[in-house]
C-alpha cells in the first residue's frame, strides 16, 4: 500500500481476554463478527470444494468421477452451503462488525442474543454439513421440492438433516434480524439521522426486514415437511390429495426475498468502497436508499417467477412476469448511480475498488439474464437448464461474492490493523475475475443449447462438451484464486503492512477510531452533523462548489474528534457487556433438542424423547440464567 504512509506503532489488539474461552463467552459485536467471518469463509471453501467436485464430474460426458447419489448430495449441499452457511453469514459478519461502528454505537442492542445467533449458526451449520462425510447428506436440491422430499420417496435420514438444519439456521437469522433492527433504530449516535446513515447500514437495515418477513414462510413450510416425515401428517401426502405446489409457493415466498438478502449487503459494501476510492460522495444518496427499499419491497411480489413451468395460468404468469421486470428499474438506478459516483472522481484501483467495479460489471450480466427469465414463454426454454445456473452465479458470485471480497479487502485493515497484501490481492482478483467468467459464461451457452441442470452426467455428442470443459477449467482457476486469498488472509494478520485508523481516507465514523477498534469502540459517543463526518473533519471545505443536494449537514468543522489512543474500557469507566457462555449453552440446547427427532427415524422413541427433552432443558435453563443475570 504505497499510497498510505503507515504509522510506526503496530496497533495492539484491543485489550481483551484471549484464549478459546474468551471467544466462546464473548459478547463483543466485533469478536462475534470475526467469528462469523472465519466460520463463513470455511463454509465457503467447503461449498467451493463441493462445486469443484461437481465440475470435475461434469468436465467430460459420461464421467464416472462420483456416483449419481453422491452428485445429488453434492449439488444440494453446495447450494445450501453457499446460500445459508457462506454468503448470508459473510454478510452477517459485516452486520456485526460494521453496523455499530458506522452508527456510532458501543455494541448491538442485545449483545448476548447476538452471541446466541452466532452459536446457533455454527452448530446448525455443522449439523447440516457433517452427514456428507457419511454419504447421507441431504439430496433433495437446495429448494427441496415435495413430494420428492417426503418419506415416501426419500426414506433415508438425508432430508431429515436438511429440514432440521434449516429450521435451526432460521432461528439464528431471525434472532439476529430483531437485534439489528433494534440496533439501527435505537443506537444511532446523536445527529446520525436515518438519512445520514452510511449506505451499508441502510442496505443492512432493509435486509433485516426481508429476514423477519421471509423466514416465517419457510419455517412453516419446513415444519409441515418435518411433521410429514416424523409424525405422519398429510401436508405433502399425494395419496391424501395434497398439492405439491403448496411447498413451492411457501418456499419461494421466502426464496426470492432471500436472493435480495444475499445481494443487498454486497450492494451496501460497494457503496462504501466506490466513494472512498473515487474521493467523491455517493451519487444520489437518497435515490440509492429508496431504490434499496423498493428492491426489498418488490421482492415480496415476484416469487412465482420460479414456477413459470408449473402451469399457473396465463393471468398469474403475466402478473408475476411484470412484477419481476419492475425490479430491474431500481436495480438499474443503483448500477448507474455507482458509475456516476466514479464519474469526475479520482479513481484509485486498489484491490477493494477492483472487486467493487467487478461487481458492477458482472452483476449487470446476471441481471440481464434475470430479465430474460422474467419473460415466461422465454423462461420455458430456460428454466431448469444451465442458463439459469449461469444467471444466478453471475448475480451470486459476480454480485454477492465480489461485493463481499471488496468488503473484506476494504475492512480487513479496520479489523486487524493491517493491510491484506496488495500483490497477492491483485493475483486473487484477476484469477477470480477471469475464473468466474470462464466458469459461468459458457453455462449460458450449454443452457440455451439444451443442457438441463442437476444432471450428474450427460451423453456425448449433445453439443455441450466444450462449454462444460471450459467451465471446469474456470473452476480450477477459482480454486487457485481462493487458495491465494486464504493464504493472504491468514498471513497478513501478522505480516501485513500496519494500517492505522483511517488507511483509505474514508468518510464514515468507523474510520475515526483506531484499528483494530478498542472494545468500547468510541471513547465518547460522537456527534454527527453530516453523512461524511471524517471528510468534514479533515477538510471542512471539501464539498465547496458542489451542487448542494441531499443532507450533507452544516459544512465546516465537524464536532467529531479522531481517536488514536486505545485504552481499556475500565480505564475510561465505560460499562461493557460481561463475557458469558450462557448464550452458547442455550444454542447448544436448541440444536440438541431438534436433533432428538433424528432418532424417530429408527423408532428409538425413548432416545428421541430423552435427547429432545434434554436439549429443551438446556435451552430453557440457559435462557433462564441468561435472562436473569445482569448484562454488564
Amino acid at each position: 500500500m504505497a499510497t498510505i504512509a503507515a504509522p510506526a506503532r503496530a496497533a495492539a489488539p484491543a485489550s481483551s481476554p484471549s484464549g478459546l474461552w474468551s471467544w466462546i463467552a464473548t459478547t463483543d459485536h466485533k469478536r462475534i463478527g470475526t467469528l462469523y467471518l472465519w466460520t463463513a469463509l470455511i463454509f465457503f471453501i467447503i461449498g467451493g470444494l463441493e462445486a469443484t467436485l461437481i465440475r470435475t464430474q461434469l468436465a467430460r460426458p459420461n464421467m464416472g468421477f462420483v456416483s449419481a447419489e453422491t452428485y445429488n448430495q453434492l449439488f444440494t449441499m453446495h447450494g445450501t452451503t453457499m446460500v445459508f452457511l457462506a454468503v448470508m453469514p459473510l454478510s452477517a459478519a459485516f452486520f456485526n462488525y460494521l453496523i455499530p461502528l458506522q452508527i456510532g454505537a458501543r455494541d448491538v442492542a442485545f449483545p448476548r442474543l447476538n452471541a446466541f445467533s452466532y452459536w446457533v449458526y455454527l452448530l446448525g451449520g455443522i449439523f447440516i454439513t457433517l452427514p456428507i462425510l457419511f454419504q447421507v447428506a441431504p439430496d433433495g436440491g437446495w429448494f427441496g421440492y415435495a413430494p420428492l422430499t417426503t418419506t415416501q420417496f426419500s426414506s433415508g435420514p438425508n432430508i431429515d438433516f436438511w429440514v432440521i438444519g434449516l429450521q435451526v439456521l432460521g432461528v439464528s437469522s431471525l434472532a439476529a434480524a430483531f437485534n439489528f433492527i433494534t440496533t439501527i433504530i435505537n443506537l444511532r449516535a446523536p445527529g446520525m439521522t436515518l438519512m445520514r446513515m452510511p449506505m451499508f447500514t441502510w442496505m443492512s437495515f432493509v435486509v433485516q426486514f426481508l429476514l423477519i418477513l421471509a423466514f416465517p414462510p419457510i419455517t412453516v413450510a419446513l415444519v409441515f415437511l418435518l411433521m410429514d416425515r416424523f409424525f405422519g401428517t398429510t401436508f405433502y401426502a399425494i395419496a391424501q390429495g395434497a398439492d405439491p405446489l403448496l411447498w413451492q409457493h411457501l418456499f419461494w415466498v421466502f426464496g426470492h426475498p432471500e436472493v435480495y438478502i444475499l445481494i443487498l449487503p454486497a450492494f451496501g459494501l460497494v457503496s462504501e468502497v466506490l466513494p472512498t476510492f473515487s474521493k467523491k460522495p455517493l451519487f444520489g444518496y437518497n435515490v440509492m436508499v429508496y431504490s434499496g427499499i423498493m428492491i426489498g419491497f418488490l421482492g415480496f411480489g415476484v416469487w412465482a417467477h420460479h414456477m413459470f413451468a408449473v402451469g399457473m395460468g396465463a393471468v398469474a404468469d403475466s402478473i408475476f412476469s411484470l412484477m419481476t421486470m419492475l425490479i430491474a428499474i431500481p436495480t438499474g438506478v443503483k448500477i448507474f448511480n455507482w458509475i456516476a459516483t466514479m464519474w469526475a472522481g479520482e479513481v484509485r484501483f486498489t484491490v477493494p475498488m477492483k472487486f467493487a467495479i467487478a461487481l458492477i460489471a458482472m452483476f449487470t450480466i446476471g441481471g440481464i439474464s434475470g430479465v430474460m427469465h422474467s419473460s415466461p414463454p422465454a423462461d420455458l426454454q430456460q428454466t431448469d437448464t444451465y442458463f439459469v445456473v449461469a444467471h444466478f452465479h453471475y448475480v451470486l458470485f459476480g454480485g454477492s461474492i465480489m461485493g463481499i471480497f471488496a468488503g473484506i479487502y476494504h475492512y480487513y485493515p479496520k479489523m486487524t490493523g493491517r493491510f491484506l497484501d496488495e500483490r497477492l490481492g491483485n493475483v486473487h482478483f484477476w484469477l477470480n475475475f477471469i475464473g468466474m467468467n470462464l466458469t459461468f459464461f459458457p453455462m449460458h451457452f450449454s443452457g440455451l443449447l439444451g443442457m438441463p441442470r442437476r444432471i450428474y452426467t450427460y451423453d456425448a455428442g449433445q453439443g455441450w462438451d466444450l462449454f462444460n470443459l471450459l467451465a471446469t477449467y474456470g473452476t480450477y482457476l477459482l480454486v487457485i484464486a481462493t487458495a491465494v486469498f486464504v493464504w493472504n488472509f491468514v498471513r497478513s494478520r501478522t505480516r501485513g503492512a500496519v494500517s492505522g485508523g483511517d488507511p483509505w481516507g474514508a468518510a464514515t465514523l468507523e474510520w475515526s477510531i483506531p484499528s483494530p477498534p478498542p472494545e468500547y469502540n468510541f471513547a465518547q459517543i460522537p456527534t454527527v452533523t453530516s453523512r461524511y463526518p471524517l471528510w468534514d473533519l479533515k477538510d471542512p471545505s471539501w464539498h465547496e462548489g458542489e451542487s448542494s443536494h441531499g443532507d450533507t449537514g452544516t459544512p465546516g468543522p465537524s464536532p467529531l474528534t479522531e481517536e488514536t489512543e486505545t485504552h481499556t474500557a475500565k480505564a475510561l469507566g465505560i460499562p461493557m457487556p460481561l463475557a458469558t457462555a450462557k448464550p452458547a449453552f442455550a444454542a447448544l440446547g436448541l440444536v440438541v433438542m431438534f436433533s432428538g427427532l433424528l432418532f424417530l427415524r429408527n423408532d428409538l422413541f425413548a432416545v428421541a424423547m430423552t435427547v429432545t427433552l434434554g436439549g429443551a432443558a438446556m435451552l430453557i435453563g440457559g435462557l433462564y440464567v441468561w435472562l436473569t443475570s445482569p448484562l454488564e
Partner: protein, 420 residues
Amino acid sequence: MPKLSLRHAAPAALSTLALLALSGCGFTEYPNSTFNHHTDFNTAIDALFQRLLFWGTIVFVVVEVGLVYTIFKYRKRPGGPKPRPIHGNAALEITWTVIPAVILVLIAIPTVKTIFQTQADAPAGALKVQVIGHQWWWEFRYPELGVVTANELYVPVGRTVEFELTTKDVLHSFWIPQMGGKRDLISNKTNYLWFTPNADLGTSAWNGFCTEYCGSSHANMKFRLYTVQPDEFASWAAHQASAAVFTATPAPAPTTPVTPVAQVTGTDTAATAPTGGYVFPRERLETEFPHVIPQTPIPAGLTFDDALLAGGDPVRGATEGFLLGGCIGCHAISGVPGAVSNIGPNLTHIASRHTIASGLYKNDAPTLARWIKNARHMKPGSLMNTIGRGEYDPIMKMTNTGGLDDRQIADVVAYLMALK
C-alpha cells in the same frame, strides 16, 4: 496496469455476448439448440427471446462501455483534476429510471401477448398424447389410437399434438428443446402443452429430457421424439396398437386374436429387420441423427456371455424366462395373458424401439441382456430389481440367489427382440 487489463477484459466479454446475440443463426446447428423454429410454439418463443437478447445486449454494452470509459477517464493520475463533490443530479437519475422502464415496456407487451397465445386451448382436432412420468422413465399413451408405448414418441408433422401431462410419483418436467418450452408433471394436477410441428418438417428425430429434479436417475430420464410424415405415423400407430406379434412377418390386423407362442415363425433378433408397421429407420439415425443414439458406456464389471445370445430361444423366453424372471409382474405385453402391469414400460413392441432404459442405452441384444441381468447397475436407483442370478443388487444390498442365469436371460432377450 489494472486500467489496461480492465480495458481489455470488458470488451472481450462484450464481444462474446455479441456473439450470443448473433446466435439466432449460429447455434441452430447444435442438436438440442433452443434457437429453432420447427414448431409454432418454438417460433413464438424464439421471436420473444431474440427481442430480449437485443435489448439485453444494448443494456450490456451501454453499462460496460460506460463503466470502462469512466474508470479509465477518471483514473487517478498525477496532475489530474481535483474530484468534484457532486452529490447527485435529479435530471440524470430520472433519465436512467425512465429509459429502462421504456425498454421493459417494449419487452413486457410481446411477453404478455405470447403468454396468452401459447397458453390458449389447443386447436380442435389436435392429436392427444398422454404423458405419464415415472421414476425414471416416460409412459406415452395415444388414447384415440389405443397405442401405449414408452420413452419414444411419434408425432405426424403439420398436425397439432396436445400433451396431457401427469405423474405417477414425484414431479418431472417434459421438454423437447427443439420443439419449444417445457411443462412440469405435477402430482394431483394435470398440465397441458401443445405445439404443431411445421408441415414442411422432414421425418426427423429429436432428444427429450426430464428437467425437474426427480431423484437418483433424473439425469437418465430422457426420451426420443420422431416427427414423421402422416402416412408413416398412421402405419406406425396401427402396428403399435396391435397386440404383440411374435414374428418378423407383417402383423395381422389388431382384430384377429393372437396367441404369442403359437405364431412363432422365426427368431430374428436383429431389431433393424423390417417390421409390420413403420419404424424410424435406424440407419438414418446413424447417418443423420447421431445425437439421438445413446453412447452411455456399459458399467465395468457387468459381464454377459454374448455367445449365448445367438442360441436364445424366444419360446422358452416367453414361456419360462419372462415368468421366472418376474418380468410379468411389472411389464405389460398386450396379447399375453397376465402381462398387464404398468409399473414398468409396456413391452408389446419393444423391438421396434431404438433405445431402452428411457433413452439411456441402445436397444440391442447384448445391452438388453445386461440390462435384464442387472438394471440397477446400469441405471442408478432403477426400480427394476436385479434379475441375474448371483448378481449384486446395489439397492437391496444383497446378491440375488434366485433370478435367471445367462442362458435364460438370452432366451428372454430373444423373445423381446422378436416383439417388433
